[in-house]
Amino acid sequence: MVVQVLAGFVSAVAFAFIYNVPRSEIFRTGILGGLGWLTFSLTKDAGGEVGAMFLGATSVALCSELFARRYKQPVIIFLVPGVIPLVPGGRAYLTMLSFLQHDYNEGVTLLVSTFFLAGAVAAGIIIASSIFRVYSRAKYVRRQL
């Protein structure tokens, strides 16, 4: 469990390097990667894989929005490396591989689960960013009055 969370941290940091995130923000993106995987593994047994993925992505996206405002950076800098451990890239690859090896039953099963997992990640991201957009709009309107 500790090793897994650490691996989440390392993979987010590694991708922060690959996507050339500014050096000052790399450690923070690593924390988000670890946080996402921690949330995912804590809730996996209770909420199922898709539910856990949704919660993991939501926690990462909420913290990305907070960090972006705090450290005056675009959200994408924290969000993209942060959700990398959660994005079902490995499963998407396994899906394609099953189809190419004529294992259509396995392929369709994997395809459906990849689709739901990616949808869960997307839903988490979009809910977090909508919350913050509504919040800053409310603040703006109040200032106008």
Partner: protein
């Protein structure tokens, strides 16, 4: 005026080539255009092209089209351009200053250095651990990850489609994993999976979903297709190697 138009266009083009979301490109163009003194700013950004027209208060219109042919993921540049456009909008920097800074950024591209390869390898190793591989499997995946990142960096200098670059990287990864399995008792599937994860279109996939759900349907579909073609490329590369040696 021409100078101002050129500056706004350059900022938008740079953001697009670095893989920014569409709403950020359009918002930045709008903010910079308005603070440069234009009465109305219209822009339409897609992953493969940028259109903008700037209306002055005396009724003249400047329209520019810019075709975007190559893009890469460089989040540091997005952050820089964001800072530049903020300081321009608040009136802290002049047009000349902004233009020279943007031109300097344009030359940068993606840095290819040893540290990046090393960290790529670490990423592959970490993914192998996440997919419950053992320590030795993670180590091998890490070495393979660094090698395929190096190969793909070299290939990106040539006009080869992204999907093919990914396929070559994936084929090399699968081949090396099979080779390592001849010497050691290891699970090649986990190693290949961890190693190809660093080729996976993570940024493209996430921004595609974000664009799609925030109503940017054109770029959402375009980027989704790009992510799909890269994923197919990776799977094809691995499948070719696997089918050559049986299972």
């Amino acid at each position: 005026m021409e100078k101002l138009v050129g500056m706004v266009l350059l900022a938008g083009e740079l953001l697009l080539t670095c893989g920014a979301e569409m709403y950020r490109v359009e918002e930045t163009i709008e903010r910079m255009g308005i603070s440069a003194g234009f009465a109305q700013v219209e822009s339409f950004a897609t992953p493969t092209g940028l259109f903008l027209s700037l209306h002055t208060s005396d009724g003249r219109v400047y329209t520019r089209v810019r075709r975007i042919r190559r893009s890469f993921s460089n989040l540091a540049l997005i952050s820089e351009i964001n800072a530049i456009s903020r300081s321009f909008s608040s009136g802290e920097t002049t047009i000349e200053d902004v233009t020279t800074r943007l031109k300097g950024l344009k030359k940068e591209g993606v840095p290819h250095n040893f540290l990046r390869l090393l960290m790529g390898g670490m990423g592959a190793a970490a993914f192998t651990v996440l997919y419950s591989g053992s320590g030795i499997e993670a180590l091998i995946a890490g070495i393979i990850g660094s090698i395929i990142l190096l190969i793909d960096n070299k290939l990106e200098d040539y006009p080869i489609p992204n999907a093919l670059v990914a396929a070559v990287g994936a084929a090399v990864a699968a081949g090396l994993a099979k080779g390592a399995a001849l010497l050691l008792t290891i699970n090649t599937n986990v190693i290949t999976l961890g190693a190809v994860m660093i080729l996976a279109p993570g940024v493209v996939m996430t921004t595609a979903i974000r664009d799609m759900l925030s109503g940017e349907l054109v770029s959402g579909v375009t980027r989704g297709a790009e992510a799909l073609s890269i994923a197919v490329g990776i799977a094809t590369g691995v499948a070719i190697i696997l089918s050559m040696g049986g299972n």
